[in-house]
Structures are given as C-alpha cells and as structure tokens.
Symmetry: C2
Subunit: 421 residues, 2 copies
C-alpha cells in the first residue's frame, strides 16, 4: 500500500517551509521529495495544495472515558473535585458508557490532530475496544490503587490488559500506579517491580499539587513523591510521570532521562500551579505534553495545550521557551516515551501525520508558519489526520465511526449516569 | 426594521439555559420571550435551533493594523520586540496597508464573536474607514507620545479623529496617551486635561512590565505609573488602562471605578507577567478583557482570551475566579467602559449578539453550557455575529467585505512592507 501526499508545505530538518511530496509505504514515511520529483505508482494520492503537512500530536497523559464528566465539577480544588464529584460519578460508570465516552474523546482528539495517546484508567477492555476501532496509536494502562488485597485485583486486570495488547500493531501496554498518595509503599514497590522486570512503561501521577508533596514528606520522613518512587525502584523503569508541577531540582535530577508529561490547562484549572518545563529540559528530562482528562481541562486539543505550554513558560521571560520547542515537545515527547519513531518528518519515521489548512486570516501574513501554528491556529484548521499511514479523519469527517450514531448512544449513557436513580 | 431570532438556547438572569425567541428592533433587544410565544411580524427571521444565543465579546484593548506584523517578532522581550522589530516595521506602514490590516483584524474578530472594540494606534483615518465599513462597534483613539512639539502634531490628528466620529452611531472617540514611559509629564497633563474637560475616555498602557514600573519610580521620586497619571488628573477622566500587570494595592485603590483591560495572552508572550484580576475586582475596578494587537498575541480570539483569563486566575486557587465571572468580564467589561448598554441579554440592551453552534463533541455532555463555552468551545463554533441588530457574519461568511479580495490586497501590502527596499 503506497499513499502519496503531494504538494504539501513542510519544514524538513528545521529548514524554511517548502513544497514536498511524501511517499508513505507500510505505515511509514518512505521518501520525502521536493515537489515535482518523479514519484512511484500509488494506491492513493492526496492533493495537499495550500496545506501544511506536520507530525501529529502525541497526547501523553489522558483518561479517555472522562469526557462523560466534562463540565460536571467546576470551580473546585483537586481534592474536592476528585472526592465530591469525580469519584461519586465514576461509581455510576458502566461498560457501554466507558466505550462511548472513549470514542467521543478520540473523535475530539483526532479532529484536532492527535495521532497517539497514553491513557491511564480502568474499564480497560472497553477503552481498548474504542482505541482499536479508531486506529489511533496508544499505550493503555490500568491504574492500580489501594492496599495489597485491593491492588491484587487491579494488577490482575492490568495483566488481562497486557494480554489484550499482545500482537497489536498500534496499541501497547503500560503498568500504572495512580499516585503516591493513593497507594501504600508495598503496592508501589510491587507494580514498580513488575514494570522494571518486564521492561515496560510505568505510568504515574507525580507531584501534581503542593498538598500531595507536603503529605508525602510527612508520610515518608521528608522524602518527595519522586524520591519515594525511586526508592521503590522506578529508576529501573520506563517512567512516564504526569504533571510534575511541584518537582524541585533534586527530583528533576532523579528524573533525568525519564518522561514528565506537562498538563498545563488541567493544572491551572484545578489550581495546582504551573510546571517549570524549561527547568525540566535543563535537567535532561524527556518532557511530553498531555491534556489530562476532559473533566479537568475541559478540552482535548493539543494545539491549544501547546499554546498554553509556550505562553506559560514565557510568562517571566519570553526567551525561556521558543514556540518551536513547545511544538517538538507536543509532537515527539509522547512518542519518545512510547518508544515509537514518530513526531518528526523524516524518512523511516511512522506516518503519524496531519494536514493543516492555512488559508484563513489567522495565518496572515504567511511569514512565520510555526509561529502561526503555535499562537494563532485553531484545531478546526486540521483537515486530515493519519496514523501509521491510515487516514482516520479527512475534511473534518471521522472515518472510523458514525459520529451521529455514537453521539446518540453517548447521550443515552449520559442520561443514565446523570439522571439515573 | 424588526428581526426575530427564534428558538435559541439562552440563559437569562443567570438562570438555566432554556429556549427563547428574541425580538430585535432599531438595533436593540425589544423583547425576550419564552419560545413559542406570539411574535410580531418581522422583516427577517433567524432560526437558531440547536444554537446558543449569547452577548458578543467586547475586545477592550487592541491595535487593529498590527495583524500586518503577526509572527514578525517572536521570542523577544517587550523592549526588544518594540524597538528592534515593531518600530522599524511601523516605519514602513502606509495608508492602504493600515486599512487592509485593520479589515483583516476585524474579519478575524467578527468571525470569533467580537462585537465591539477599543483601539489605540495612528493612521486613524484608515482605521476609521475599515471600522465604519465593517459595522463593528468601536472607540478609536490616536495614541499621543513625545514632547510638547511632537505631541501637538499628534493631538491635532486626535482632534481630526474626533471630528470624524461626530454623529457616528457606532464609532466614538477616545483620547489616548501611549504610556508614562513614552510621554513627558507635560504631555500627560495636557492630554489628560483634554479628556477630563470633554468627559471623554482616556486610553493608556499602564504598568505592563516591571521595567516600566521601576523606571517610573526612579523618574518620579517613587511614584508608580498610576500615581503619575492620577497626579496629572486622570482621576477626573473616564480612564481605560490596558494591562495593569504590575499594579499594587495602592494603585488598584486609585483605580476604583476606572477600567483596567487585562490582556493575558499578550502579557505571557512578551514575558510581562500575569495580572491579578481577582484582586482588581475586589478593589472595585471595572475589569475588561483585550487581545492586544495581533503582533503580540498572535490571535484576536476573545473566546480563547476568556479561557486564559479564567485559567490563569485559578492557577493557585480554583475558587479565585469562576468561568461565569470571566465571561461577564469578556462581554460587559468593555461595553461598560464604552458607556454602552450591551454585553448582556436583557430587554433594552443593544443587540450585539452571537450564535454558537453546540453540536460538536466538545459540548458533550450538554450539562453545563457556560463551562463548555469557557473551557471547551472554539471560536469556529460562532455561526452569526450581530452588531446593533445588523448581521456582520452569518454561517462563517463575512457580509461586509469580499474576503478573497481583501486577502489578495493585504498580501500585496505585506510584500511591499517585508520585501520592499
């Protein structure tokens, strides 16, 4: 299967934008040629005239089913939001609701140019079903919480998820611990051990709030959450830690070479603070970007998340982060954590690509396209989303599902959850 | 002329969203009736089924022609951005370029639901022409800078602008001083005096950066920029001060009853900091919201600006600003400063209104519409923009200009400015 994307504006090797033709074969970028070169015969040809070709976004921290709770708990602190709104609502979730909420989230993501995700939740069989049907690239994980007995049930579910992912070309498995504050040390040690032994990712929430840090230091004789996880062996895992708002320099040094996923909108909305991403980069951390779930953001739009990341990092000094750095984090931070060669335009990389229509007034004058993408674009400008060479969205239409039907079934679930007894 | 907007979802008096019919007459909201009521004969009927009717946004601080410089000076401090990029580029501006850039900015604003603006720039005849052609509501002002001799030329241009605005139903005149740091005290006193004497607005930049504050205190024996303006008589004017990032409690108390325009994205991008809007509200300041010019933002999207305002205000405490408060600031802060009864849905108010399509996945579940508007919507969802009962945009199409033609002429100006000798 060969797909050609012809006449697309693109920036290769950080050079000026120019017109190129892309040859996609077996899900990968086979060739990038100056527009007008001799091209092979193709099964499919996409005319990208007047559009910009870019790597898709990698949303490295999310909870897919939480679009069911969008707008349900507003103007609350993280603790009240979790305990008084989210946990009671989550008790009403059921299999079909999780499947449809996950699809609704994936539809929003794909329409805004996201090509890969790292998820942490439960009801994983239903999430797996939605992810597989959509064709988006993903790491899925079952969040483990609780004491030895509770954890053992969840670790069993995690093992079932690992089995499901076996042999899947686009879905892989990750271990997950919810957070230091929700797991006793024996559980942290156990799951960390499994991740280290299998060479698998370990996905956690880390230093999201000041309360979390303060509580941890009093529980663990002054140790920070990062130090607790490292003590449990997380240094030997492929660690993917979400948030990192309250990391200090000691923590960041321990996290060198690991992945921290910044979630700027969610952290602002829940009053958690602003992560110091430029400092993380100085410490050699692989920074990725995530939207978190739709209940705490409340959108799943990585283009917008990139804008927040850049602008927040600039707030005291406009030189602290360039727009280009934020774009690189948003595209390649997550895929690097996934161990996937994507998030860049180069021969041999996965064809996780998007087209952006730059005809609107927001892109005027056509001087500095990367700047326009970071600061002016809107995700409605994304006209095509491709994962591993397969087109998931074209001309703003989702190809893997009947949007109207999914919406109607989602509405019914929402009525059950919000209006049920 | 009577226009009916039928079957629109709306929230009246902060009550739950319900379906209403709106009767628009002579540019004002004549009646708001529960959907299905007996309605008068109308010249025009808009079916708003499945859409939400809301007040338009009031963009209270902008520089319309600066869309010509979008993306031209990136990753720079305010001082370098002004001195090394903007001032040299502004030297190349000419009448036609200002007119077309202003139109491009207004097109972007109207398409994202903005119905009124407060502008400060020069080349005011060209800006006036674009604003008048578009039908958007505006205060225009000629920014005065420099010593007595330089100022007198600019004050003369300001007087010409006042003449142009006479008798205009939608455009009114404001006096403007660029900033404390760009005007000697005699100029500040002179223009402030004119504004006070005529009962006209005085539009200024105020405490945008720490440098500005520090410099002022050393120039004026410890006085802050606010204290300098007050000393010059600004307490007797309708003051509209943009930015206010570095105001302290003393300044805020002096500004009680005056207008401060928060410009969150511009302040982040230029590294100026984050204005403490919740504290301004405690001091009884009329807070409005602005995008600033497209060169320092780089979008002119008030929906997005509202999101930044809310989220930034929540960053340490999610209870510090509710989404509903930010929406009120974005809608009615600017119109209050303009002395116009708009920015709210009530009988007798100006019909500065927008329709928002809520059919996308971003509004799911349909639980908390105000929250979805603040956190999840995109301005492409705005399907109709009306000012004083006149429709400026319908179904994403601008009605006051030929967008393609304007774009082509704008492109030619951009070539002249960026590639000219």
């Amino acid at each position: 299967m060969i797909t050609l994307i012809k006449n697309a504006l693109a920036s290769i090797d950080q050079k000026q934008y120019a017109k190129y033709d892309f040859v996609i074969k077996d899900g990968k970028i086979l060739k990038i040629l100056p527009h007008g070169s001799l091209l092979p015969d193709a099964d499919k040809v996409i005319d990208a005239s007047g559009q910009l070709l870019a790597p898709g976004f990698s949303n490295a921290h999310t909870h897919l089913p939480m679009s069911m709770f969008r707008g349900a708990g507003e103007d609350l602190s993280l603790e009240n939001w979790l305990n008084d709104t989210m946990y009671p609502l989550e008790d009403r979730l059921y299999s079909e609701a999780v499947y449809l909420s996950s699809l609704i989230s994936i539809i929003e993501m794909v329409k805004s140019g996201t090509t890969s995700i790292i998820d942490m939740y439960y009801f994983c069989a239903d999430i797996f079903r939605a992810v597989k049907e959509s064709g988006i690239r993903a790491i899925l994980s079952r969040s483990v919480v609780g004491d030895k007995e509770q954890a053992s049930v969840r670790i069993k579910e995690s093992e079932e998820l690992r089995e499901m992912c076996l042999g899947e070309p686009l879905i892989s498995f990750g271990n997950s611990l919810h957070a230091e504050y929700s797991c006793p040390f024996e559980t942290i040690e156990q799951v960390t051990g499994i991740a280290a032994e299998n060479g698998e990712p370990l996905i956690i929430h880390l230093s999201e709030t000041k309360n979390e840090n303060d509580g941890c230091r009093s529980r663990y004789n002054g140790l920070s959450p990062t130090q607790v996880f490292m003590k449990a062996g997380a240094d030997k895992t492929k660690l993917i830690a979400a948030h990192g708002v309250w990391l200090d320099d000691t923590d960041m040094e321990l996290l060198r070479g690991k992945t921290v996923v910044a979630c700027p909108q969610s952290n602002l909305k829940l009053g958690s603070g602003i992560a110091d991403v430029p400092r993380m980069l100085e410490h050699g951390i692989n920074v990725a970007l995530g939207t978190d779930g739709a209940a705490s953001n409340n959108n799943l739009d990585m283009l917008l998340e990139t804008r927040f990341l850049t602008l927040l990092s600039k707030r005291t000094d406009p030189l602290r982060m360039k727009g280009a750095t934020a774009l690189k984090i948003a595209r390649a931070g997550g895929t690097k954590a996934m161990g996937v060669n994507a998030g860049r335009l180069e021969e041999g990389a996965e064809a996780d690509l998007i087209l952006i229509d730059i005809s609107s007034e927001r892109y005027q004058p056509l001087l500095n396209l990367d700047s326009h993408i970071v600061y002016s674009s809107r995700s409605d400008d994304v006209t095509m989303t491709m994962v591993a060479g397969n087109i998931l969205m074209s001309e703003r239409r989702i190809l893997f599902a009947d949007e109207k039907e999914i919406r109607a079934r989602f509405d019914e679930c929402a009525r059950n959850i919000y209006q049920g007894e």
